[in-house]
């Protein structure tokens, strides 16, 4: 269902849980689907012993993809016109993520949103924006 401009208010928010206790298997699933097989995301031995990280970590694009579900569930299928993010902190196996869209502007059939995804400690892991076409 698409959003309706007349019912949207600047400052209103939509929040969704993206994942609870992120599993390494989901990161592997994303590697396989996206084609990004960087061992930093799937190979614990390489990542801890060679790259020097405490464990494998999620692709930034997995977080952006999961956050995208929150957006498309909110604005409707085939409605997004822009979506951009910065990856502000790494996402680790075991993390629980919640994403929030906040309405910043509604004009000319378009809603503008601030987008933020945080982990279980309240640390922002993704910060960005989106725009979508809305009904009158």
């Amino acid at each position: 269902m698409a959003l309706s401009a007349s019912k949207l208010r600047v400052g209103e928010t939509h929040t969704a849980r993206l994942v609870e206790d992120l599993k390494r298997t989901q990161i592997v699933q994303y590697a396989g689907a996206s084609g990004d097989y960087n061992p930093l995301h799937t190979d614990e031995i390489f990542t801890t012993q060679v790259a020097g990280y405490p464990s494998v970590f999620a692709h930034g694009m997995l977080t952006m993809g999961m956050t995208g579900k929150m957006l498309t569930d909110y604005v409707g299928d085939a409605r997004l016109t822009k979506y951009g993010v910065r990856f502000t902190s790494q996402v680790w196996p075991g993390d629980t993520l919640d994403a929030t869209a906040t309405v910043t502007e509604v004009a000319d059939g378009v809603v503008k949103l601030d987008v933020s995804t945080k982990n279980q400690d309240g640390v922002e892991v993704l910060s960005g924006y989106a725009e979508a076409r809305v009904d009158a």
């Binding site: 996206s34 790259a51 951009g84």
Partner: protein
């Protein structure tokens, strides 16, 4: 990414949507998708990232007959030269990603991707030493040559692995 053909396949969309935890039928059920505003199976917003699958030279995929830097008998299959954290095989980390959608991307589309280099800049990072950022813009055009998605990515190379903030337990 070099210019190449990127066929948008329904099975690939289904696997990609599953991997990001999205069970919306518009990504896998042709009958259900027909009844939605989209009118058929479409791709999720970040799907074009998987064009890497169709890039013959994509460096983060093991290739037949070539060394791979992930672990096997040893912790890495390639002796690394030079430092740099985060990069493993020199890939760096993903700092930003931006998309503009000119129309919905549909199963059955065949895209051609053309990448243009963008700006490069440096910054001193608190947790990882010197940071070198570089930007690239990729245009995805359909079988008629029309623009479907414009993607702008920013990658970062770090001098050393990103230091982790103290764990909660230690606080």
């Amino acid at each position: 990414m070099a210019a190449k053909t990127f066929p948008i396949e329904a099975g690939h969309i289904m696997m990609f949507a599953r991997s990001v935890g999205d069970d919306n039928p518009v990504y896998y059920d042709a009958e259900a998708a027909k009844k939605t505003e989209a009118g058929g199976i479409i791709a999720p917003p970040t799907f074009v990232q998987s064009s890497a699958q169709f890039d013959p030279d994509y460096f983060l995929r093991p290739k037949v007959g070539q060394p791979w830097f992930g672990s096997g008998k040893n912790a890495t299959g390639v002796v690394r030269t030079g430092g740099g954290g985060g990069g493993g095989g020199g890939g760096g980390l993903h700092a930003e990603q931006h998309y503009e959608y000119h129309r919905p991307l549909r199963a059955g589309d065949v895209l051609t991707a053309t990448t243009f280099p963008g700006k490069t800049w440096e910054k001193e990072g608190r947790r990882s030493g010197k940071l070198v950022f570089s930007e690239s813009v990729t245009e995805y055009r359909d079988q008629k040559g029309e623009l479907v998605v414009t993607a702008r990515g920013v990658g970062v190379r770090t001098e050393r692995p990103v230091e982790q903030p103290a764990k909660k337990e230690e606080a």
